[in-house]
Amino acid sequence: MSSVLYDTPGPRAKARNWIYTGAFVVLSAAALWWVLAKMAEKNQLDAAKWTPFVEDSQIWSTFLIPGLMVTLQAGVVAMVIALPLGALLGIARLSDHAWVRKPVGAVVEFFRAIPVLMLMIFASAFFVQFTPVTSDMRPFYATVTGLVLYNASVIAEIVRAGILSLPRGQTDAAKAIGMRKSQVMTYVLLPQAVTAMLPALVSQLVVILKDTALGGAVLGLPDLMSMYRQISANYANTIATLVVIAALYIAFNFLLTSFASWLERKLRRSKKGTGTVLGVEEVDDLAAGPHPDGPVTPGAAGTVPEPEGPGEKA
């Protein structure tokens, strides 16, 4: 492998790489041994703690599957509400009128600066005081509200970045043939921007799915995360339960992440359109927070040499 850091290895480098490999194997084996020994010491490796997940179908039918369903429901509902709301905010932020652009900008920056957990806690208390939502539905409503408030503002930034990433010539050409501002947006910019944004939107769904776990841990939403208490209370197998629940989250999110980076590669290769793609890496849950110099430099998305998507094997 030749990269910016290394040339193709010669005989000496190859020998050295084998030494590194050996050292790494020894170190990881030692770490693994320590973990397993620690677990064995506390009887966490006993077969009785792990076999229920394969032998006892009840653990799946009463806890894991219903929990997973609630997680997926909350995530999908939040995404479905946040998407149009975010699109609206994102377009409003690009308005020519300062009296639209500035307040919307302030709202978007405000909700992006606040932790989603606080939004959920606030939403929960709000529903208690001002709405007749029943107490068994309240955690779901509160979780979804918190997720929508936060993610609509993140999606607003994705939409804005997607529209700004299109080449300027698109707007100029549309104006030159006499389109009005709303026509430029609906016929020319949005359709192309939506394609460019798809990968970023799919990876935002991963962020939403991960954040539903907060509702489970703090608000009492009966989601996958909250099932760990019930399962480990019934079977006394905390670590096994946590591992299985983590595996479920990882499997779902990994599928979505891989799909997002596949989509990104496919769109980048495609000959249609302007070839602009808003990458998975550009807008992430960690890319949240005020961007001092605008979200993504216009036109930069397609030109910067992209790192591989997170789903790819190196």
Binding site: V4, D7, K38, A113, I121
Partner: protein, 224 residues
Amino acid sequence: MFDFLESGQYDVLGAFWVNVQLTFYSAIGSLVWGTVLAGMRVSPVPLMRAFGTAYVNVVRNTPLTLLIIGCSAGLYQTLGISLGGDNFKDIGFRLAVLGLIAYTGTFVCEALRSGINTVPVGQAEAARALGLSFFQVLTLIVLPQAFRTVIAPLTNVLIALTKNTTVAATIGVAEAALLMKEMIENEAQALFAVFAVFALGFVVLTLPTGLVLGWVAKRVAVKR
């Protein structure tokens, strides 16, 4: 309306100070751990690359909530690993920092790796052609350029980390989100005022970071 602040019953600043401390220790830890991971992901040793890739893919697809609860319920309550803390407050704090480091490290790793990848291969090839050694190529050519492009993404990681410290509330660390929950329950009539105070706190914590580091990132950016 804001009289709950004067009652002296709630230590709002103290709660935010816990968030600042969580951010500080986790930022340092995840910078170190993320650098190690990035080093593995770009190393010439296939096994290390595989480990780095696997770790990043597994951990960043796990909810942070699950990681932090796992640290508390799994590591501490089940395995008895207390990370040298001797009281409940200390142990919770350290476990939260551990979870935050494990999670944030993956994002630091990806930011660093993409920073290294933005350096054109020709730069390193030219350096090798001049006869520079591996460490000279790394320290004189690649890292200075990579570091400059990495400031903006790392700023975003830092801001997200600041907000993520509230997840420590799930294992009972006495930080801002937990205090907010408690205050909302006790001072139901002042719901909006309580929310405004805590929202303002986070705007104050994240906005200057973004502005200052964003300005730095713009100044040092490599023009290509």
